[in-house]
Amino acid sequence: MSHDLIVLGLLVLFSLALGALLLAIPRLLGARSSQKGLLDIFECGVPLRDGTQRRMQVRFYLIAIIFIVFDVEAVFLFPWAVLFRRLGMFGFIEMLFFIAVLALGLVYVWRKGGLEWD
């Protein structure tokens, strides 16, 4: 197993421990009160209206799908970028096709109004 993996694992453990320690302090030192209303759902000075049972706009779904598609594109661009100088013109043309097809998708969504927020 590589040394890097051990060290990064140590970093994760240390960070988690730091967070847990900070969270534990007010449990020991913090005030104890049973103030009325402390545990209620927050609302701006009026009795609660509209609970959380509201549906969200479906366009968030579209954003998430486009995000995945371009994230996957970026994933393929990383090895290409590392090898770019070696692949030369050939690599450029093959990636040009790949990007062009995806840019087409972006243009399509754009033209159809999928990126509009009103």
Binding site: S2, H3, D4, I6, V7, L8, L10, L11, V12, F14, S15, L16, L18, G19, L22, L23, I25, P26, R27, L29, G30, A31, R32, S33, L39, D40, I41, F42, C44, D50, G51, T52, R54, M56, F60, I63, A64, I66, F67, F70, D71, E73, A74, L77, F78, A81, V82, F84, R85, G88, F92, M95, I99, A103, L106, W110, L115, E116, W117, D118
Partner: protein, 342 residues
Amino acid sequence: MNQTTLTLLIDAGKIAVILGCTMGAVAYTTFAERRFAAFMQNRIGPNRAGPWGLLQPLADGFKFMFKEDFVPEFADRFLYRLAPIVAFVPALLLVGVLPFGPDLVIGSQVIPLQIADPNFGVLYFLAIASFGVYGVIMAGWGSNNKYSIAGGLRASAMMISYEVSMGLAVVGLIMMAGTVHMSTIVGQQDGFFGWFIWKQPLGFLIFVVTTFAETHRVPFDLPEAEQELVGGYNTEYGSMQLGLFQMGEYAHLITASALMVALYLGGWQFPGLNLLENSPILYALAGLTVMAVKVFFIIFVFIWVRWTIPRFRYDQLMRLGWKVLLPLALLNILVTALVILI
């Protein structure tokens, strides 16, 4: 004590020191932000705790510690408790691959001033950055409050929109460097005009803008838009749980600034610094200082922007992310490719 144990101990020490320094920097960044804000708005700012108010961060920290720790009645207890940790830890994990300075040589022991230098360095920070969105979603859902959920959903949609452009902006840099190895990337940037900011100006610009969005800084602080969403995803939080979200944000600001310095602004390198190469300890210390100065300059710019530019509307934000930054990032890749080929 054999060499493996010694290396492991040194690594543990490095991690502890770096995390400690990051937390100290977090404390004083909050203070600097308040003092600068006061200065820019022609008022005094916190100056009562200690000389020039320098003990203010300690006072803030203690206040968090003595606040009541509670879980709202309708919240999902498990997710509500877990969310601050999930928001806090990825911000710290970003330091994992950052080079802070040249190798420190003490006797026969060579200590690289970097926690780990894996062969997937740039990918590591992108992977960690993609994880930052879960703290926000988890807090929003776990609080079970309409403001939190709306804030969480808006924040996460914003973060993923800008994450795409960030990843694509870095592709241009990787093409120039031909590697994803962090220490090599910093090593390539010797001499003032060797910095990648001069070779990748557009990429740098996109990276800066997306960093603002990823760290929830103004003008991209939609997650916490207090006028419309009360507090956004952390509305229901109090005590150290809220403190952890805020420390996480400042820690993210610091680590993201350090990342920007390492990738585009030459890291710990500075013209004339290699004159010191003969005395390794001095060289390492000078490198660390240069890195720190650059990082604090970037943090200052972040604070400056915060008190200068108003917040975007949500539709403007999405338009900027998808219709401006994404096409620009793709263009940057093509231009970089043509420049390298010609």
